[in-house]
């Protein structure tokens, strides 16, 4: 079943390299809006590289490069003269390890993106802090300690703080690179719950190592293997009646 709605992100013939090694080969996929798309596959299959190409962070690694077309709402982010800095304002990202900015308070972490973009009005910032932290389901836990360092929170709280930080600039698309792999099961469950909640407002592409997680939270699943997109479809289909044998073997744990 292919989606009828206009995709928010259209990827065509995306290739990525690390020096000589060809990390992604001719990836073409349509990411539907207001849904969670999971990217699964064994280690080193290129799934992280894939989402790092979606906000042009991949090219920040020395000797790394990418080519192809990635259109966000019709605008090719790999087009000529497109500034990656502008692209990244519209596409948020949450990383594997919680990485709040050191020596910034919870408050300052959330508004970092706004403040460094020049927004200074305290009333605006404070409003965004509350809204973003509520969205990230962290408000109730930190509302009385907004001035403590972001790094002093627990790991799970730090990760939700990073989600709030990404949401503060209101990106239509949020990329998550194994956001729960450094967290314990309880913190993981909280983040998963949060993702299901966020799906209503923002499109999410999430890389995960954990197939149960992909099955639990995603609407669509993309299976990567050795730099290729093997299968992409409705999560329920991919996990129950995959079209490709390789997908089935991975999902049933025969390799990977």
């Amino acid at each position: 079943m292919s989606q009828q709605v206009e995709p928010i992100l259209r990827v065509r013939n995306l290739n990525a390299w690390f020096g000589e090694s060809h990390a992604l080969k001719e990836i073409s996929v349509d990411i539907p809006p207001s849904a969670v798309t999971a990217v699964i596959g064994p280690s080193g299959c290129g799934k992280s590289t894939f989402i790092r190409c979606l906000n042009r962070l991949h090219e920040e690694v020395p000797s790394a490069g990418a080519s192809g077309e990635v259109s966000l709402n019709g605008m090719n982010i790999y087009g000529e003269g497109v500034d990656p800095v502008g692209v990244r304002r519209k596409i948020g990202m949450v990383f594997q390890k919680p990485n709040p900015f050191p020596s910034l308070s919870v408050y300052d972490n959330v508004v970092a993106g706004l403040r460094l973009a020049g927004i200074r009005r305290r009333s605006v910032l404070t409003e965004v802090v509350e809204r973003s932290l509520r969205q990230a389901a962290l408000w109730d836990e930190v509302k009385d300690k907004l001035s403590v360092p972001g790094t002093s929170l627990s790991g799970g709280q730090q990760q939700r703080l990073c989600i709030a930080r990404a949401l503060a600039v209101e990106p239509p698309l949020l990329l998550m690179d194994e956001p729960t792999s450094a967290l314990d099961p309880i913190a993981t469950a909280k983040i998963e719950e949060l993702i299901l909640e966020l799906r209503k407002q923002v499109t999410i592409v999430i890389v995960t190592h954990n197939m149960q997680q992909a099955a639990r939270i995603s609407d669509r699943t993309a299976f990567f293997l050795m730099g290729e997109l093997v299968e992409f479809g409705e999560t329920s289909t991919v996990f129950t009646v995959p079209k490709e044998e390789r997908t089935e073997r991975y999902i049933t744990g025969k390799f990977g």
Binding site: L57, R88, M93, F101, P102, L116
Partner: protein, 291 residues
């Protein structure tokens, strides 16, 4: 060999190893004491010789003419503060900028050359830097000056601060930078507002240590700042400094002067010690390298 024999051998071997272990530990302790002896003897000696003349006048009065007793080194204290101030104004921004360049943009061949140059500069004898500044500043300006002395000390500060800044910025994990970039911030803002800010305490520590180092420098001041028996008359005039004053007063066979020199040494030593200790405490309380 029977099991009993084997056990016997093992027992003997064990006693021997235990003995060697004790011996080695003792030797290491002796080595540590030997290494620390100079420090404590210097401290003790300077204290015993310098404490006698330490009084209020030392900090408030300028030197008396030769032969008269009393007087102090107030002008040299202010001079050293002035020189260190000028040096910091030059060395700190320059050093930090170089360190940021090396850490954040330091993958090119140019950067490797800069890094090599910084290391070379750090090992250039300070008197050579004094000579260099003599040719560069003193000669064109037509005379010794506080400014020239500050420039010489500032140049000495640059490599220390640059390498320290580079190393401290490298401790900031790369995913912190990526988090900034992913928020849509330009690289320079990420560096300035996030990476640099996260290492402020460590970088400050490096600055304090380099100040402690240049505060005691004598050689580069001899033909740049020179010396001055009175309060200095402007930054374009020669200026007194604690190390040079000690050097001057320690030479002639004059009881009063020599006593003043010891007291000067005591004050200088104390100042450097305090700077070192506070910077260490400061560093420990800082947040660098922690996540």
């Amino acid at each position: 060999m029977t099991s009993a024999q084997l056990q016997g051998y093992l027992a003997v071997g064990y006693a021997k190893r235990k003995f060697v272990d004790r011996l080695m530990r003792l030797l290491l302790l002796v080595a540590a004491i030997v290494a620390l002896t100079p420090l404590f003897s210097v401290l003790f000696y300077v204290l015993s010789r310098g404490l006698g003349n330490l009084n209020w006048a030392f900090f408030t009065e300028v030197p008396k003419p030769i032969g008269e007793s009393g007087g102090g080194m107030a002008n040299a204290l202010v001079g050293t503060a002035t020189l260190v101030g000028i040096a910091s104004m030059i060395g700190v921004p320059w050093g930090i900028a170089a360190g940021v360049y090396l850490s954040e943009y330091g993958r090119s061949r140019v950067a490797n050359m800069v890094r090599f140059g910084t290391d070379m500069l750090a090992s250039v004898p300070s008197i050579v830097i004094g000579l260099f500044v003599y040719a560069l500043v003193v000669v064109p300006m037509g005379g010794f000056s506080a400014f020239a002395g500050g420039v010489a000390l500032g140049i000495i500060m640059v490599p220390t601060i640059a390498r320290n800044t580079e190393e401290m910025l490298r401790l900031v994990p790369n995913h912190i930078r990526e988090a900034g970039l992913a928020l849509g911030l330009p690289r320079w803002k990420v560096i300035l507002r996030i990476v640099l800010r996260g290492s402020v305490s460590a970088i400050t520590t490096g600055i304090m240590l380099s100040i402690a180092r240049v505060a005691g420098e004598t050689a580069p001041l001899l033909f740049t700042a020179f010396n001055n028996r009175y309060w200095h008359q402007g930054l374009d005039q020669p200026i007194a400094s604690l190390p040079v004053q000690i050097f001057t007063y320690a030479g002639p066979p004059d009881e009063v002067w020599n006593g003043q020199a010891w007291t000067g040494a005591l004050v200088l030593l104390f100042f450097v010690l305090v700077l070192n200790v506070t910077s260490r405490v400061f560093f420990r309380s800082g947040s660098v390298g922690r996540e």
